[in-house]
Amino acid sequence: MNRILRFLAPWLATAAALAAAPLVFRSNFALTTMSLIGINVIFALSFNILLGQTGLLSFGHAVYYGLGAFVAIHALNAAVDANLGLPLPLFVLVGGLGGLFFGYLFGVVVCRRGGLVFSMITLGVGELVSSCSFILRSFFGGEEGIVTNRTGPGPFLGYTFGPQMQVYYLTAAWCFLAIVATYALTRTPLGRVWNAARENPERAEFLGYKPETLRLYACCFAALFAGIAGALSAINFEIATSELLGSQESTLVLLMAYVGGTGHFVGPILGAALVTYMQIRLSDLTDIWQLYFGVAFIGVVLLAPGGIAGWVAMHVQAWRRGELARLLPSYALAAPAIAIAAVGAVLVIELTHRLFAHAMGQSTLLRIGPLALDAQSAGPWALAGVLALGGGFALRWVWPRVRQAWGAAASGRKGSAA
């Protein structure tokens, strides 16, 4: 009994959190954000079947997301025209099957090579499909895209899926299913063999698994879930455009999965939630939010390749061994230094942006709440420089201690941490 409960507890908690979220965050903004997060969680999880589980880095994963959206939207429109009376939630699956179909079709070519060549081919196929979207206009709808009406199929169990709340619950339900399914996939023999192929492709091959076939299976499963996410996005926005399958979406999903951490199952979920939220918030605050995303991404690659999940996992381990306290003194030293350096760096970037925006005929004033800093006067620059340099030097001084503490916590050694 206890074991069953222990096994079920995380899933029940996830389901409860998904169901209760709209009761806590009631605003319209929160509802649309949470729907978007749900979609991106599925998308990022599907990406991690490739990157995290099989070790394949794809630069064109949005192809299946976008094609799933288009298949779902065409199926939906056709079904409504023919009065088939099929319920809306079914079309999510149709989108997923569309993704699966194209995943197999492209996968046969893409999966012929592994490693870095795989990455380059996915980039090429991504470009091929997004270029095709401007040629095959009747399927992709050209610049305007294809629109639909999600209330078209009529009510299902009394729900019309008109209000955003009902769309959220549809997304949440599929999101839960996708989380369970992708997790189950990691526990199957196939999932384990993927890991083997990631760690040591040669040895996996000697065991009798053809790497090409393994890659193809991974590609198909990833495309299936990406298609489901795409279909949900089409239902959420009631439109599918060629942007859905372009390089920007492919970049975004890579960012979400990697920043979250590809080495842990929860990584992409955390990453999707954080990146989606930051994307919406940051784009309100500054024009150059994408620059911060890029810098943050490089920072994760350089300093914390395990992503957020890897960082959290390290602390959970330290906590289990009762050594978390040993990390705290060095964190107490590092936190102010990081904060000061970050504020200084952001100020420098924003002032530079203002200065160059001036050349393009915009104001030089940097507004932060009630504060207005003029990028053409020396004062703000001096402040920004002092903060950035001071914080930077302090960090240089503190960082070896943090590293030492990490090393000690990771290995469980006794020793002075701070």
């Binding site: 490693g115 060549v117 196929v125 040629i135």
Partner: protein, 311 residues
Amino acid sequence: MSQLVIFSLLNGVLYGMLLFMLASGLTLIFSMMGVLNFAHASFYMLGAYFGFEISRRLGFWPGVVIAPLLVGAVGAVVERYGLRRVHRYGHVSELLFTFGLAFVIEQLIEMFWGKTPADYRVPQSLDFVAFRMFGTDYPAYKMFVLLTAAGMFVFLIAILRRTRVGLIIRAALTHPNMVAMLGHNVPRVFMLVFGVGCALAGLAGAIAGPALVTQPSMAADLGPILFVVVIVGGMGSLAGAFIASLLVGIIQTFAVAINLSLSQVFGSTAPPLLGDLWAVTVAQLAPIIPYVLLILVLIFRPTGLMGTRES
């Protein structure tokens, strides 16, 4: 007809040589370090923008000389303080690092020079007609780009075939570990090769900028085609990269010049469901031709035209 063939051939060779200026650096870096430099086209773009900025202040010629040196220096710094650190996490992390770098470079260029194309012009000393054929002018600047690219090609061959550094590089192409065993300072050779590869890309950008369009999307437009060239030619093969560059350059330029569609060949009534395909002209298909070539090569010759290495 012969006008179309000659001019398309000239332009195709020009485009192909530009591609090779980038593909050669990419191939050298990949063969020696195992690093697939996603940001290679971004260094090309940096070259164009540096050239533009310097030409605005000091004139065109200083720009063509200084911009590649600057780009090479940026490349060396990136190798020393970025790539060398992620090296221990494996090749995928290196690729991800250069991917992030490409993203950041594009954002920085948008921040400094704006999203609209920069006004990078052909210098007056090269702004004349080189020759006239079939009543069409061929600009001297394009000849200049062609000659520079060809000169660089000869220079590269000379370095690789005639110098000691070239000897080490060629050895490292096939036996990277053995070169390290022989006691060469491999990290320094890596930094040098990465810097020189980036400088070549920068030179390509500085001279191609006025002939093509200098804009923040130029890296993202060229990058995927560059990868196609490297795979079609065969990973790690310079000769393959050369052939593939010319092939892609010429095919794409010819495609742009052909205004033929299926409806002109088989009549204007399209079979059901194929209406889109019927109206598309070959010129409109030009952007996807490199990728179709990529898929064909992968199906029929997975190692590429001249490639021997699997990955």
